[in-house]
Subunit: 222 residues, 2 copies
Amino acid sequence: MDKPHRIRRATGPGRPRNRAPGLVRAALLAAARRHIAAHGVGAACLRDIAHEAGVTPAMIAYHFGDKQGLYEAMLTETVGPVLAHLSAALTVDAEPDLELLLSRYVNTLAANPWLPQLIVREVFTEGGAFRARFIEGFAKRGGGLLIALIKHEQAAGRFRKDLDAKRAAQALLSLALFPFIALPVTREVFGMQTDAAWLKGHVADLARLYKDGMRAPARSRR
Amino acid sequence: MDKPHRIRRATGPGRPRNRAPGLVRAALLAAARRHIAAHGVGAACLRDIAHEAGVTPAMIAYHFGDKQGLYEAMLTETVGPVLAHLSAALTVDAEPDLELLLSRYVNTLAANPWLPQLIVREVFTEGGAFRARFIEGFAKRGGGLLIALIKHEQAAGRFRKDLDAKRAAQALLSLALFPFIALPVTREVFGMQTDAAWLKGHVADLARLYKDGMRAPARSRR
DNA sequence: CCTTTATTTAATCAAGCGATTAATTTGACG
DNA sequence: CGTCAAATTAATCGCTTGATTAAATAAAGG
């Protein structure tokens, strides 16, 4: 009589193992990456993530324990490798080529558009658990590499020495990262694009602007 | 017998008008600004906002209707004026002074630290209601002013002409805005600070870097 | 002193959330 | 062919959220 649309204890659950092993787990991680990058961990809904992965929310508990477990797995398995790649792009052994370095950095960001979103959501924000780990485990090392690069160029006489290396490094990071962080705005206001052709000119312009701005004076006027 | 801690229908509610008129409203707006900037509209909790303002959540319904009404009031009454001030800083009438302009912009950001947080939370993110309004009502006009400024300098022969004005404007905005957007990181990694003394040197460095990077060649080599 | 109006409260509601559970199916192994 | 572990589901639980409501109070006006 009441609630005819709801069948109580009728058919029941079940129907496993049609899929390849690890497929559900991977689908959940991919869906979680997109949802968490778009809405943040707090606002991301497990039901939506599971629905996008084509399974029920209970699978998250089965494969990852709870929401935090899913978040951790996403960080270590999909964010970590990309951050490591980004860090490696900054590691210059012999002769640092600013334009090549910028190109690697920018193209990694363009190839993983969820990364800037995730950083915005989970790092540039008060009181996130990921924030401290990001700063300690990646930003300080990456920033240190950048500062060392500036100092190296200063010592080589290619960059002027009257500018604090930390500030110069911050400026370089601003130029490289901001357009991706602010993509919803820069795309509409400045015509920012993320295809290879556009990025090539973009990197060339950035490198030239920065190099000219940092160039040591040719020992003439001033 | 059951639940001795909960007094059922004992004292009852009430106790109005001890405060100055408009005080509750202002307190709610201030608390909302801080909570929404810190956690985003979606994750901000009305109970927490009301608690911080020293009233009950029902006051939000009374003064603003619902959560959306509180959000709208916050945008028009506290965010709008600061954005207008920021836009006015970009409006140069006679002779544009890049360093003065940067100084105004940066100091406004430093004086309202909730603004970069709010932009990060509500603009640099997919599918927010404020995002479209921010872009149409502020970013496009502000960006246009910046682009016009670059073109003016190019026409005057102070900036080189072989660089797209839109890209040059985007680079300038990157330098000015990113350190504040990423403050949790830039503070720890690059020693970013927001007091007047530090910002003064910061603005001077940024202006010099940008001007030198954009300077038109003195009609010699290359 | 009585009435009225603006403000504020405690209590409650329905919806949505993360998490848990019992039931069920599939494949592997003997 | 029977047994068992792994994987999956529907259903449900407790909690938090945004919103609503009836009651209560202070001040103002007559």
